[in-house]
Amino acid sequence: MLLLVFGSIFGGPTPPNYTLYVKNLDVDHEGRPGVLSEAFIRALNESVFEVQLLKPGDPYPRSTGFAAIRVLTIPMGFTSNLINATIVNRVDITVETIMMMVEMAGDQIPPEARASISSSMEGINAFRGSMPAGVMTLTLEGSRDDRVLQPIEGIINTIASRFELALLNASSTIDVKTRFNDTRQLRSVDYYLPGYVAAFIMTNGLIGVSSLVSDMRRRGIIKLLASTPVSRTTWTMSIVIVQTVASLILLSVMIAVGWLVFRIAAIPDIYSIIVIILGTLAFTGFGMVIGVSLKEVEAVTALGNSLSFPMMFLSGALWPLELMPPYLQDVARLMPLYYFHSALRETLIVGSVMTATFPSLIVGVMATAGILLAISLTKWRDF
């Protein structure tokens, strides 16, 4: 569930459509928009943007949810200015082209013809000088926290340049085509999957297993089992096996959903399965220790909760540690879940056995300690 929600926020399979609010001030006295500003807006709308026109007097749009608000303002006089500028540009190009031809022809042009060409060029230049034309500024307004505002400005600039070229009747001679290849690029949804799997296994152990064990003791099941030939090691291991199977099923479901919905990159290999098993052992062991160390089921659940929740949020399982202040990052490194999800991420997503070694070793130590503690603290007599 969480994976679906977060995954769709942080990058699903279809490229996002950016909403762009456009305020067009280029209107005549009857409020009709200029031809060129209208055409420009159409060009924007045919690109990655979904244009929403803001009429004069409309309030500044407000964000619902996570979508960023970006407003592009087209200045007054856009159309006339652009027409003038186009004429000026065309004149400049024409004059320059003719002068270049004259230069290249050299002596082939008789001197009197050359003089008459330059005088007419001067006449044209004088006419050009009388045309009012300058640079027009479109304003793009957006939040300082909007990380894609810069790229969006670039896209709008590109569209504007193409628009100007089209007005000059010139065609673009440089084109970029995108081709997809098979290299793996981590996306945020890839980052979250191992975190969720790890957090789930942790809560299953610290809250689920602990209250299960405690409830079984309250019901007398533990007494009944202890009066049979079953040993407490067998009992502990049977809980561990059930939890391991549950974890592996959870992992497959998460990967299946992740793959179907988000084309997630995770492929479980033998290393990630070992890490899953070690993590399950560790948290099942810890859960059993909690379950046997307090009398009341309610107290056990409360302790399990108060250990799980801070760990879930502070260990970097639910969001990247890099987003947290440095002292919290140090705190995270004291948490068992940190090592579990790091090891899982390195094996499952990054596919790097090297970087997984250290956290996996820590998880292995926790697993051993957890299981041994669980066995030795479980009371099989003298309750």
Partner: protein, 308 residues
């Protein structure tokens, strides 16, 4: 009959608190043995020592000659016994069948079906445990104790908290069980239960055994006389009976007790009265464990298990 359980000078201390104080008794093979006592008397402590779940402070407890303190014998003892812990509740979200199967697999047994049929649980084997009535829940617990064909079954307060009907039903299953030859070790604070079910009983109060022995013998030796209760007997009749050596005591204004030792005395009392032209039909109160308990301990046990 041979002795299947021998307990000798058994003592258990929790810290400084003496919960079981120098207790000795035996249980014979195939009998129903009851530990009868009020709350906190030490019943569960003794039972759990016998189940190898508690370590005694001193003394000896032998199950079929094997010492419960000897780690090498504990596993063999555990193969012989079936246990219903006090206030036992099976797992809520498992079915009746699954719960009994859990106990069966712990004991390496597979006769789940036979047990369920014997206890009348087969029809409801697929019901979730949480959906059962109190009486049925306890019966599932008994099934979990009985599965695996144990030679000795320990039932720690099997009917506490049940309504009278469910209690009677449980008794009938315990009687059936006895017929199959199993030795049954019962704890209870219900006098009636101990008296109706057990062959032998040990009365335990504050960690000490107050009396032990064959139930009928205890009652006949310690229970006192049979009491005949008459309404409106009259002073003349009372005098005549006293003259023949009977104990006659008024209990209320119009009710009088005449104590007799056996049946022939009942008829004698009635014929004396007839001689005086008094046609009276008394209520007959046979002595029971309650009288034994009252006589030895000096108090009664309430419905909830408290000494009063």
């Amino acid at each position: 009959m041979n002795e299947i359980i021998v307990v000798d000078k058994l003592t258990k201390k929790y810290g400084d608190f003496l919960a079981v104080n120098n207790v000795s008794f035996i249980v014979k093979q195939g009998e129903v043995f009851s530990l009868l006592g009020p709350n906190g008397a030490g019943k569960t402590t003794i039972v759990e020592i016998l189940e190898c779940l508690r370590t005694p402070t001193s003394g000896v407890a032998l199950i079929k000659g094997m010492n419960v303190k000897d780690p090498s014998e504990v596993k063999r003892i555990k193969r012989l016994i079936g246990v219903l812990p006090q206030e036992f509740n099976a797992i809520d979200n498992l079915t009746v069948y699954e719960n009994v199967e859990l106990a069966a697999s712990a004991k390496g047994s597979r006769n789940v079906k036979d047990i369920l049929e014997a206890l009348g649980l087969w029809e409801m084997r697929k019901s979730a445990f949480s959906k059962l009535s109190g009486g049925l829940k306890r019966r599932v617990g008994i099934a979990m104790a009985l599965v695996g064909d144990p030679e000795i079954v320990f039932l720690d307060e099997p009917t506490t908290g049940l309504d009278p009907e469910a209690r009677r039903e449980t008794w009938s299953y315990i009687r059936k069980l006895k017929k199959s030859g199993v030795t049954i070790f019962l704890t209870t604070h219900y006098m009636e239960e101990a008296e109706r079910l057990s062959d032998r009983v040990a009365i335990i109060v504050r960690g000490r055994i107050a009396a032990e022995g064959d139930v009928r013998r205890l009652v006949s030796e310690q229970g006192g006389k049979t009491r005949l209760i008459f309404e409106d007997l009259g002073e003349r009749a009372a005098e005549a009976l006293r003259g023949k050596g009977y104990e006659v005591e008024p209990i209320t204004d119009d009710r009088t007790v005449v104590k007799v030792s056996d049946k022939s005395e009942v008829f004698e009392v009635l014929s004396i009265l007839r001689g005086l032209s008094i046609d009276a039909y008394p209520e007959i109160h046979h002595p029971g464990l309650e009288d034994v308990f009252l006589r030895i301990v000096g108090s009664k046990i309430s419905e909830r298990g408290e000494l009063i």
